[in-house]
Structures are given as C-alpha cells and as structure tokens.
Symmetry: none
Subunit: 192 residues, 4 copies
DNA sequence: AATGAATGAGTTTTCATTCAT
DNA sequence: AATGAATGAAAACTCATTCAT
C-alpha cells in the first residue's frame, strides 16, 4: 500500500469516527483501530488529531467554496440560483459523514480552528451578500438588509442539511433544491 | 449565603465560563475560581460538569418552549407569528451568554446530551409543523413540505441569532423580528 | 501535611531518584512512588519534571555561589582561600545526593537547562579569575593565564568531589580541603 | 560502497549528531538523515543506538589510554610528563566532536555504560597513581594522597578541555600542555 | 457546609526497533 | 544489502471527581 493510499485510508476512517463520535469523543485509538494500523502509524501521516480533522473539514469547505458561483446578472438569474443551491446540496449529501462533521462537530475544537470555520462562513456570507446587493439594484432581490438575508439563507440551508444528514430525515433528494429555491423566492406565509 | 443563592451564583459563573470557552475547554477550576468557591463546593450543588451545563441549557430551552405559542387560526395570524418570533428573539438576546452556549457549544457533549438537544429541536419543529399544517388548510401557508418549512425556519433563526450573539454582528434589535417575519412571508428573491 | 511539607517531601524523594537514576532514567512514577503519593499530586506542586529538577539544582548552585567569598587582598590570603575551599567541600559533601546530581547528571537535559549550568560555572570561573588577577598584582599568584587557572581549579575540585560522592571514594573529609589547598599552592611535581 | 566505508560514514555522522545534540536528544532519524541512508540500514551496522555511541566513545577512550605512557623513572621525568599531557591534549583537540561527546554527554546513558566510563577513568587514575607513587619514592612527587593527586590531575585536564572544546574557549593550543605542566609542578598560589 | 489537597484513569505523543519488500 | 513504512511500548501530563478535615 503506497503512502497516498494509506493517507486516504486514515482520512476515510477518521472521517467515519469523527462523524460517529464527534471530535472530542473520537480517540486516536478509534481511528487506528478502524483503519487497522498501529497507533504510531497515524503519526507518520498526520501531526496530530487536529491536523487530520482539519484536513477532512478543509477539503469539503474548499469544495463547497468552489461550488458557489457568483450570480451573473446579465443572464437569467433563477437557474443560476437554483444551480448554486443544487450543487451545494448535492455535494454535501454525497459525503454525508463529512457533512455531519461539518454541521455537528466542527466547533469548540480550539480557538484557532473555530476562527477558521468562522472565516469560511463569513466568506460565504460576504459572497452571498454581494450577489444580493447586485440583485437589489436589478430589482430581483427585495429591499432589506442583505447581510441578514445572507445569514437567513445560510442558516436555513445548514439546518435542513443537518436534519437530512445528521438526523437522518428522509426527504426526496431531487426535490430539495427546488423547494429551498421556492422558499427564498416567496417564503411560505400568505398573510397580509 | 443560602443554598439557593449559592446555586445561582455557580450557575451564573458557569454560564459565563461555558460561553467564553465552550464546554470542553471550560474547566471546573475556571468555574469555581470565577464563583469564588472551593472546588469541592461545586460538587455539593451539582453532581458533575454535565449536570450544571444541562441545567443552564435546560432553563433556556424551557423558556424558549414557553415563548412559542401555538397559532390560533381563529384569530388574525400575522401578529401571532410576529409575536412568536419577537418573543424568541427577545428572550435569546436578553441572555446572550446562554444563547451563545446554546448555539455554539451545546453539541458534542455526549450522546445522551446530544439526544436531548435533538429532542428539543424536534419538539419545536413538530410544533411549528402543526401550525404550518393548520395554516395550509386555511390557505395562509404555501403548499409544500411543512417539515421542511419548519427546518428552514428554525435554521434561519438560529443562524441569525448565532451571528448576533456569538459573532457580535450588530443589527438594530427592534427590527430583527419584523425582517424575519417578512422573510418568511415573501422570501427575498423576485425572479420568475 | 501542609503544602510546604509536601513540596519538601517531593523534592526530597525526587532528589534521591535523580541521584540514583539520573535525569532521563528517572520517571515521574518513580518519584511519586518513592514519595507515596499519586501521580497527579506531583503536578500540583511542580509544573513538570524539569521544574523539580531545576529547583533541586538551583538551590545547591545558589548555596555554592553564596559560599564563595571574594578574596580580600588587604587581609591574609591563605586562610581566605582555605575557607572558600572548605565551605564548598563541606556544603557539597553535606548533601551528597544533590551533589551527585550536580556533577553527574545535570547536563544533556535540554538546551535551556544546559545553558543555565554553563552560565553558573562561567560565573564561578569569572569570580575566580578576578581573584587570581588581584593576586597576580600582589605577587601571590603565579604569572600565567588566569582563566586557565580558574578552569584547572574548578575541574580539579569537581572531579574530586565527583569521586567522593558519586563513586563513593572514601577519604577523610577533614583533610580534603587542606590537601586541595596545598595542590593549588605547590602542585605536586618536584622536577625541574 | 563497501561495508567498512558505510560503517565509517555512519560513525562519522553519528559522532556529529551526538556532539551537537547529546545522547538523548540525538535521534536515529538525525543520524541516518545526516548519513544519507535509510533508517533500516543503520541497524544492519549497529545493534542499537547505544552500540554506535559506545563505539565512538570506546575508540577515543582507547586512543587516550594508548597515549598515556607509564613514566620511566630511570629517565628524566619532566619531559615524559610533558609528553603525556601533550599527547592527550593533542589527541582530544584533534577530534573535537568526539571530545565533546566524551566530556559533555557520556553520562546518564544507562547504568552499564556509566559503569564503563567509570571503569575507564578508574584505570587512568590507577595508572596515574602508580606513577605518582613511583615518583614519591624518588622524591619527585610531593608527599600526600596519590589517589587524590590523580583525581585533581584528571579533573583539571577534563575541565580545561571541556572549556576549549565544548564552550569554544580560545587559547593557543601549543601553550596549553606547558601551562598545565607548570600547574602540576608548582600550582599557582604563592602564599605561605 | 465548605474546603482544597489528593487521586488516578485516560489520552496523546514519541521514537527506537522491526520487517516485508 | 538497502529501504522506509509500520510497530507498540513507554511516558508525560490533565482534570473531573473524591474525601478527610
């Protein structure tokens, strides 16, 4: 087994252990047992527990970052928004273990790591906010605080994915993105 | 100092410590130092670290539960919904330290505790879902999966409060509830 | 048992363990077993293994430093030199375990500690050198490199004490200082 | 590269690593990296870390042993003593890395090794003592404890070389032996 | 009730040594 | 012979909890 494969193997099992137990309850022992290697082997590939956790999280954060495309307001907007939602949802449902880690345990690790997560979501919020501002100028986004819209958007997505992935709520995957889109477009309350 | 006051004092300081450091990084030592009592005293009032954490969380969960009133569809709905949002937001912004704990560290404690948090949000989601179903029958809630609406609702609220409380985002408190209400009523996207 | 006594007890047993095994072979386990306390107790009194070792060494280094009196050249010199030698020898033979540590294991601990030892002996050498220079001006110290005389002096003392303490060489204690004095005064070779 | 050369290469680099870091801080990894061989290769040539260290030390101990010639009292003594000092000093200044190991880290390795060092210096002390006894009979060594003279001699030499090699004290090499000789012959104190 | 010293289980990490290739 | 990945024993250190005073 070559180095890269062994690394993958450790990442793979670590991901499962973190998803199952959470960061603090996950012991190096659990990871190496799952991977079927000796304790010392772990430290040949990762400097410490935090490093492997960070790598797992980073990889997916990066993919999520890549999945979000800035909305081009010179083209039809609806499908671009739908596309963004769809890509994020698909990506996060594809590797449920990592999504679980991301949404359920990637906080309270240590100050530096927490800052990193914060920074990521800040970045996404800022990206989103810019699009929303562009949209307001074109009249395709309602008036209101765009930062707040951004948080409301992220929060609703996060919670939904959390329920789907962490709590195993069963909902037809293909309809998720569309329903979220509709929620952003028209809310659900029909009162005056 | 009588028993009840001493308990309060410990709860108070524990809350601050948990809010500042998170559950795992918070040490009993930190709490008793902050409270100005001896280490052993802590265990006269609480069976263990988890117990005091749970009590802090429970108290607020309970208050949040109490703040949510089932919408009475025989009366005008809009203000009842507004009221629910307002009460939750007010309550959670009133004790920011506890809200911080609730939204940033109350997970990954241990399986039993995690289940309890899950159960609480399940309960809220179910309550919300019932209201949404009632609303659908009356035509004041859009068609669609009510469970999903419930999650989207909770998620957006949680994220917003998280940003306000944990990250210190500054937003005029009095307008928060109204803007959330509008978001649920009409979303923000104005595309076809 | 009060804190100070417990500290002393740990210092006492640690000294014996370090003297017997040397720094690296001495385990915290050995120390706490010898002291009859739990492992954690050790860390209530000392931050780590190095800290207790340093404290043991420092205490004696300090006493040795105090024992050396600058020779006052306006008064008869011989007895002052004798006094210095006598005090150092007496002090180091009084607590043989610590002297053993000082002469046999207080090196190779870590760079910072090694520098500290170095600094101490440098200081002693410098003190000695100054006295030797004063002596040269008065004609009671032979011409020659005073730094070298200082090292030769320290080295001969160190080795002798090492043999007495570490290797258990038996030599009448009361005559040691006088014989060393004679060695510095006249060497032993009687060749031309 | 043949076996003998590879061995030499490992010994050479091990010596440098031990000199730089000391026995305990020197890692096998450091040695093989310096030597440019694989970790496993090390164990083809040496049974363990101690073995290579011992070989480095032994080699020089042996050369020092060889350099000391028993003083022949039927011939002029002064130059024979001078010669002994000169040979030892030259030999130890020639390979400063090994001398550093010998004087700064060759203790606290393990009981067996420590005994070996002890035994070597015992042997030298005994050799020296015998010469000193012979000398006393001829009247060319002062009265006094010859064992003590032996230790004082060894100690002064060791410390001086330690300062020259380990601490980088700069002193004209050609004069060292002569000054030491003078020290043994007449000390430096000129008091009554 | 209050204290705070003592406890020791639990975990991470290091690194000399082994061994399959 | 050479390699270097794998091993696992060993040790330090932490901290929630207990308990004698």
């Amino acid at each position: 087994m070559d180095k890269a494969t062994r690394r993958q193997q450790l990442l793979h099992h670590a991901r499962d252990v973190f998803a199952k137990r959470g960061y603090h309850a996950a012991k190096i022992e659990d990871i190496v047992t799952a991977a079927g290697v000796a304790r010392g082997t772990f430290y040949l590939y990762f400097t410490d527990k935090r490093a492997i956790f960070e790598e797992i999280v980073d990889r997916t954060l990066h993919r999520v970052g890549m999945a979000i495309e800035r909305v081009d307001i010179t083209r039809p907007v609806a499908d671009q928004v739908r596309g963004n939602i769809r890509r994020i949802v698909a990506l996060l449902l594809e590797d449920r273990a990592t999504t679980k880690i991301l949404l359920a345990s990637a906080s309270g690790i240590d100050p530096a790591f927490d800052r990193k997560m914060t920074a990521f979501f800040d970045e996404v919020a800022t990206l989103l906010e810019q699009s929303l501002r562009d949209g307001q100028e074109l009249g395709i986004v309602a008036k209101g605080d765009t930062r707040m819209f951004a948080y409301l958007t992220m929060g609703s997505l996060k919670e939904l994915l959390f329920e789907l992935v962490v709590r195993g709520w069963d909902h037809p995957e293909e309809r998720i993105a569309e329903e979220i889109f509709l929620f952003f477009r028209a809310g659900y309350l029909r009162v005056d």
